[in-house]
Amino acid sequence: MGRQTPLFRLHQELGARIIDFGGWEMPLQYGSQIGEHHAVRRAAGVFDVSHMCVVDLTGARVRAFLGRLLANDVAKLIACGKALYSCMLNEQGGVRDDLIAYYMSDSWYRLVVNAGMRDKDLAWIRDHARAFDVQVNERTDLAMLAVQGPEARAKAAQLLAGADAAAALALGSFFGRELGCWFVSRTGYTGEDGFEIMMPARDAEPAWRSLNSLGVASCGLGARDTLRLEAGMNLYGNDMDESTQPFESGLGWTVALEPRGRDFIGRGALEAVVSGGSPRKLVGLLLEDRGVLRSHQKVLVASGGEGEITSGTFSPTLERSIAFARVPAATADKVLVDVRGKLLSARVVKPPFVRAGKSLVT
């Protein structure tokens, strides 16, 4: 029996197929997974992401603490409410987890980390927070809904009273703010515009029902996975983990090596990689033959060497299969993939595959 979010009973009532995800009983789909995917690309959908772990960090030295904990640099966050995507590394430069950090105030940052990493992350964060006298408060009292799609913000704003609705609609990309006892941010994991909304657990079910009545489709983790893959976004545990570094995971852009004096965990290991060059890289693949790419399929590279698919699926938007693969750094524009004993040809492309409803590959 896994853990349940405050929306579990509603998912059951809505006929969701429930699966285990990182120790949580979560909805995979309510009806057609492809239908849910298209709802987000074309209109709006709502996801229960309450299983994700919200952690508030407070203290006078919280900024210095995050400068030590995260590979990206919270000093980039100039304005209150701004969010930053970052990896949290181990000493070897491997990715312990990826997360979003919100700059709430000079003495308060909010992190959102992966559900399956909750216990390991909290232990790691608490261990390192002590030296900075930072308080670590897990917000199990909050539920979180992701409302995503071209119509998502307009629909979700209708859940808010006039002034709050206007404030939510005025949020810039990757900004969040507190509106009453909700925290609304213009973020997501689908490649579409939208909000992620943290709210007291008791608010979640009425909010979901209101969104449904406004025409926002209930969407499960199945559609979330095809949407994020089309959007070129990594999934922790598939595309990177403790044994892989950001530079071989398509996440070099999230590592802030400047300023040089910032001694974040894993920095030493990454500097060695930067000077020598990473032997592997994460690329996008577009299958040219018919079939479906899946994680762990072997990739054969003409210049020699092998790689492996880290995430693969059928793309409902492109109506063909797409994937991420970790391959030798010298990999050029074509590869072969061993799909159930057959060698199929795939083209190497730079993710994302789809953004804001539009195909970025031809």
Binding site: Q29, I34, G222, T226, G291, F314
Partner: protein, 132 residues
């Protein structure tokens, strides 16, 4: 609750078998199977002329989530793969017992009896035991 038509025969691996008037059989996957797989996005059916043995993997159905083999329920020779499914795999979801058939097979002599196929009632028991 999935649909189990009374006039068909079944396998434990969720294929159905319909005997046609010419003595050949038509084979597909059950309503339960298509529900469990979810939206199908790729179907590979065997070529006509191929000889298959009972239990041999001879077709592939892939949904967004997973790939699954389809097994020949009996010995015989493929007379046709459903040509519609390469362009419209979702037909299997919409009409698993009709337009979504996968292949037609000419059974080897005695193969139909030897296959020990399940009746609808027996297959329903398999589903009940699986909690489906």
């Amino acid at each position: 609750m999935s649909n189990v038509p009374a006039d068909l025969k079944y396998t434990k691996s969720h294929e159905w078998v319909r005997t046609l008037t010419d003595g050949n059989v038509e084979i597909g996957i059950t309503d339960h199977a298509q529900q469990a797989l979810g939206d199908l996005v790729f179907v590979e059916v065997p070529e006509a002329g191929r000889t298959v043995k009972a239990g041999e993997a001879c077709a592939v159905v892939e949904s967004v989530k997973a790939a699954s083999d389809v097994y020949a329920p009996l010995d015989g020779q493929i007379t046709a793969g459903n040509p519609k499914l390469s362009a419209e795999p979702e037909t299997v979801n919409a009409e698993p017992y009709g337009a979504g058939w996968l292949m037609r097979v000419r059974p080897a002599p005695g193969a139909l009896a030897a296959a020990q196929l399940l009746s609808a009632a027996q297959y329903q028991k398999v589903l009940d035991a699986e909690g489906g």
